[in-house]
Amino acid sequence: MPTPEHGDANAVRIGVYICHCGTNIAGTVDVHAVAEHAGTLPGVVVAREYKYMCSDPGQELIKADIREHRLDRIVVASCSPHLHEKTFRGAVADGGVNPFHFQMVNIREHVSWVHPDKRAGTEKADALVRAAVSRVRHHKPLETRRVPVRSDVLVVGGGIAGIHAALTLADAGKHVTLVEREPTIGGHMAMFDKTFPTLDCAACILTPKMTAVKAHPNITLWAYAEVQAVSGYVGNFTVTVKRKPRYVRDDVCVGCQECIDACVYKVGKEPDAFNLGMSKRKPIYLPFPQAVPQVVTIDPESCIEFKSGKCKKTCVEACADRHAIDFTQQERIETIEVGTILLTTGFKVFDAKRLPSYGYGTYPNVYTALEVERLLNASGPTAGEMVLRDGRTPRTVGIIHCIGSRDEHTNKHCSRVCCMYALKLAHLVQERTGAEVYDFYIDMRTPGKGFEEFYNRVAEEGVHFIRGKVADVYPTAEQDGRLILQAEDTLLGNVRRIPVDMVILAVGLEAQADAEDVRRTFNITCGTGGWFTERHPKLAPVATFTDGVWIAGACQGPKDIPDTVAQAGAAAGEALALINAGHIELEPNTAYIVAADCSGCKTCVPMCPYKAIGFDAEQGKAAINEVLCKGCGTCVSVCPSGSARQNLFEDDEIYAEIGGVLAHA
């Protein structure tokens, strides 16, 4: 059937371009033969091969051919459309042809990289090119949709990544809502004592930024809150946030902590999560002295008033006329409208109990690195004194690398930060206690500015490095609390058994336990292990496949603080670019109804998850709201009369594609 916009579909003039991608494609696909085959297909006026179609000369080739041969349809066979579809549409548009008169063929990811047999690969490339050539003749000229972008931003996760991103955006004059599920922002960084390799005190560099978040006029900080649901699309998201009750009014509490002193519990009884259970807290608490916001929280699980209703409520008395304590506080659901979203939800540390051979949880003198961070921290459970659980100062300390990293049974990935933090802990433990430190590593990985120098420094300070993975941790025969670390020293080629007072496990980083739920809420993808997937590993490291949603920091993969901050800045910058543009162009792949053919059966109406299909009772026809339609095409496939259609995925286009892949060459 003739396409009304473009005359006879058979009279099209198609240009086909086969990319070598260096040897990436040309190595396993006979690109010359594919181009030759393309040249024989109906409607094809020009068929060429070129080394790099995405390069400027490659794009120029298309533009020049459009001029010279009056091409009106372009097919490029190269990489995934997820990588370069936009590039080539741009070239086609520059050449004066509607950018949607273009079809891309994926002969790299789907052919040359996965099919080593050149004959079979070439045959498949031929089939895919044939399909695109038959499809593209049906393409209609389309226009992208422009939607405005709200300037408000949501940042989820108040660790250093979220803090840095929020401050960057707020300084640029954008309003930011920062949502953090814990009672305070600060994340893991707030738990550390010093940071490698400069040994800056973590609190000294972090807490001023935390305070700045609270004080910033453009930031709304909702700590102790979680995002429940997200709807809408880039530029116009509607976000529902659940604000958990602290039972303390955050608008009134000044953080004086008199209520904590006054609590009927004279000493804490609940394990203090911030100190990883190594100290106890009261039912009314502030996670740590520099917490932001400076608002106390009541834990209803342990508070006597909540449990029995018969407490003397000395906290309320202490709060006096400020009346900040409110036992009746309820969960609040807030709804906000934002244009862009940044996810900075961080990581969790590997649970060392999953590897029982290292004795964590069995022997009291086995610690995780994060616990040691707290022991070394002046606001930690021992006020910075490096002592064992029984109060003794360790005289010999063993550090074991790669616990839950680079291990077939737990995580295959390298957690990237453990070598460096292990070196830092070796330095700090030796400095504070004078202990002999033995550091068991598989490979020492120190690729960062000043990292290798730090390793050398720690080695010069007398830390003993043993290349080998500890196979076993067991108590000494004397049963004196000491533990023997047994490992094969792969440099000396013998087995070492070293008795130590304290074992520190350099636990790896894992994706958050609820990364899957978060991923679903924000409609992004996770890779292996639950890390959020970036749009491109090199060229779009903080963007996601969902427009308007960025990721930064360790939620994307293990990362140290400098890299995390760099990503947070990058994500904030990309969000700002979109906000400043003021609008975004959306794919014109929406569905529409050809009213003349619509029988009014309403089959399509309940198919739409976005309620984009309305029914005009007067006309007896369905109608699709183009603004609400996200272009899935589910309504199109159920329409009995064929009146529901989808731009870019029209029935005739898809049938042509099916015919193309199946036609014999």
Binding site: M1, S80, P81, H82, N106, R108, E109, H110, V111, W113, V114, H115, P116, D117, A120, G121, E123, K124, A127, L128, A131, H138, R520, N523, T525, C526, G527, T528, T533, F545, N589, M607, P609, Y610, K630, G631, C632, G633, T634, V636, S637, V638, G642, Q646, F649, E650, D651, D652, E653, I654, Y655, A656, E657, I658, G659, V661, L662, A663
Partner: protein, 162 residues
């Protein structure tokens, strides 16, 4: 592994099924991209037709593919609960089950028509699914329709003209 006889002549004569794969843009198409970037190797017998959502797959697409000579049809979508468009894959599942019954009536074996949930990270499972399906369809041999293909072929031009 059927027919792993020695000699390239035998290999050249081996039946190579043609399988049309309808993959959704957000999960399974990306899984196939990932298989490429991680250089996995799998059977070259599938031809991917990209749709935004598996919910877009009209049962007629499947019939058309068989009518035009496909030996198998594979549908790849997001896992239940993971649909980029909330629920398109559930609709695909319902249609798939109904369509499979229809295909059986037409004499098309179950192994020739598969629906698989493959997320963007599941390159390895994608490889397994493709290889497995190719082997099974290879074992079944070429598809011979018992009814004339024209009976259910949906020619693009005709559809547009209707």
């Amino acid at each position: 592994m059927p027919e792993t006889t020695t000699g390239s002549a035998a290999a050249a004569e081996r039946f190579e099924p043609r399988i049309v794969a309808f993959f959704c843009n957000w999960c399974t198409y990306l899984a196939a991209d990932l298989a490429g970037t991680t250089r996995l190797k799998y059977a070259p017998n599938i031809r991917v037709v990209r749709v935004m959502c598996s919910g877009r797959i009209d049962p007629q697409f499947v019939l058309d593919a068989f009518a035009k000579g496909a030996d198998g049809v594979l549908i790849g979508g997001c896992h239940p609960g993971d649909c980029h468009y909330e629920s398109g894959n559930y609709k695909t599942l319902r249609r798939f089950q109904l369509l499979r019954r229809t295909l059986r009536a037409l004499g098309i074996e179950d192994d020739r028509f598969r629906l698989e949930w493959l997320s963007a990270s599941e390159a390895e499972p994608l490889k397994t699914v493709v290889n497995d399906m190719v082997e099974k369809v290879r074992a079944l041999g070429p598809l011979h329709l018992e009814v004339p293909a024209e009976a259910f072929a949906a020619e693009g031009e005709e559809v547009a003209a209707r």
